[in-house]
């Protein structure tokens, strides 16, 4: 029987991800939650297989390494999506400033 409980594992994974992604969290929350749910279930399955003797410790280590690498890519994608959101916000603000300047000067300086 696995010693890991999904009910406690999943919230901990999300809380750990939310820390460094605090600013981008509203943008990436659904994506990270969905992917981490699948990764969490895989980790549970691997641990169960190992506990049942259907996987050696080495096989379990390799399986868990795959899950870790997948988690890293999900978090990297979330970081990238966050950058895109920040970029869009800055460019929207720049567009407003540009319009304000050009309107005030009554000619397209910028």
């Amino acid at each position: 029987m696995s010693s890991i409980n999904f009910g406690t594992l999943f919230p901990k994974m999300l809380a750990a991800a939310q820390g460094p992604l605090k600013k981008q969290w509203p943008v990436v929350k659904d994506y990270v939650e969905s992917e981490f749910k699948k990764i969490g279930e895989s980790i549970l399955f691997i641990e169960t297989q190992r506990a049942l003797g259907k996987m050696t410790d080495e096989q379990a280590r390799l399986h868990l390494k795959l899950q870790t690498l997948a988690s890293k890519n999900v978090l990297l994608a979330a970081e990238g999506l966050g950058y895109l959101a920040v970029e869009a916000a800055i460019n929207a603000a720049l567009a407003v400033v540009k319009d304000a300047i050009n309107t005030a000067l009554k000619f397209p300086l910028i």
Binding site: Y31, E35, K38, I39, S42, F45, I46, Q49, K54, M55, T56, E58, Q59, L62, H63, K65, L66, Q67, L69, A70, S71, K72, N73, V74, L76, A77, E79, G80, L81, Y83, L84, V86, E87, A88, I90, N91, A93, L94, A95, V97, K98, I101, L109, I110
Partner: protein, 154 residues
Amino acid sequence: MITPTPSRPVAPALLRLFTLLFGLALAGCTSITLISAYDEGTDKGITEFQKSVETFLTGVERTGRPAGDLSKAEVAFFEKASVDLSSLRVRAAAISKNDITIAMLANLTESMSTLEELVKSGITKEQIKPIRDALNASTGAILKLELAKKRGEK
């Protein structure tokens, strides 16, 4: 005597932000990019790569795979995967502001090395699912970011 009402001070952070944006706009900077543009080659390359991995896993899933050295077909699959990923990494490195995609491709390369070790160590039919899910999460992450770089382009 009329006492002037002190005006409400503008929050310092807001003032700094406006000053920065104003300066950027005056410098002719009407937009910024924090991350690379969309690359069709990466999009198509990762999509094809995911298909080839899925074909391989579907084959293994039929009967499972006992522990042992790689067959000729398996060697050919891993060699092609290595070449395809190397090509994608070279392409990604040639694009500026593409560090995140480069890092994800490095993780995917390490994933394929790990898969090779797993195949040699033996995989049962039911153990394919977490492998498939992990590799789909990895390739899916690369694709998700790449498509998001389209920034609303049609």
